[in-house]
Symmetry: C2
Subunit: 125 residues, 2 copies
């Protein structure tokens, strides 16, 4: 199976909030932005994201893969309930992108480097 | 020549501020974050970056390529003179990353989607 196919299944798993399957895609020792949060911390982060952004949906806009890495540009149209990235959103509908890199080890995500376009969100407030 | 080699030469061109060579790497009709700024606008943007950040240097941290796209994680240790991304930096040394995608056409950059980690900068102020 190609890494890009695994990654698309991972994104489907997120969009379905099918947390029991997260371990198929994410390593126990996963690092997120240079912090080793582990699978349980990763799941908590995602659950918290969906709690704070009830209409959260991940859309793959651009996907580049080699044998070890995935780079993905994700786009979002959603309405965070309260504060997001230290900004008062309060349910306003916003659109923004995330440029994110993933390192895979044995077909599971072991490292993530994510940047969300905060400047684009600020321009909509 | 591999796209990744062309890209590394492009980054060298930027670090040397060798603007006469920029046209070797950047298409006349280049779009930056969905705005068609063209080669001259692109050069102005870069010149302005180096004017506002005299110690600017592009470091490739991660590079993923296919036949059309490059995804690159760039890291920076630099001291913007005044304001940067609407933040008061005033010469303070900061470290941050940029996750950026490039679409190539005939071995030249035609589209760029860049996100700078503003949250990381804010945490250093």
């Amino acid at each position: 199976m190609e890494l890009s196919d695994i990654y698309r299944n991972y994104i489907t798993c997120l969009n379905q909030q099918d947390w029991s399957k997260l371990e198929l895609y994410v390593d126990n020792d996963v690092c997120y932005n240079n912090m080793q949060i582990g699978l349980s911390g990763y799941r908590k982060m995602l659950e918290s994201n969906f709690y704070n952004i009830p209409d959260l949906h991940f859309n793959i806009q651009l996907l580049i893969a080699d044998s070890t890495y995935i780079a993905s540009r994700l786009s979002f149209d959603c309405s965070p309930k309260g504060r997001f990235l230290d900004l008062n959103i309060n349910g306003k509908k916003i659109s923004f992108s995330e440029n994110v890199f993933y390192e895979f080890q044995k077909e599971k995500i072991i490292k993530v480097w994510s940047i969300i376009d905060k400047v684009a969100i600020e321009s909509q407030l």
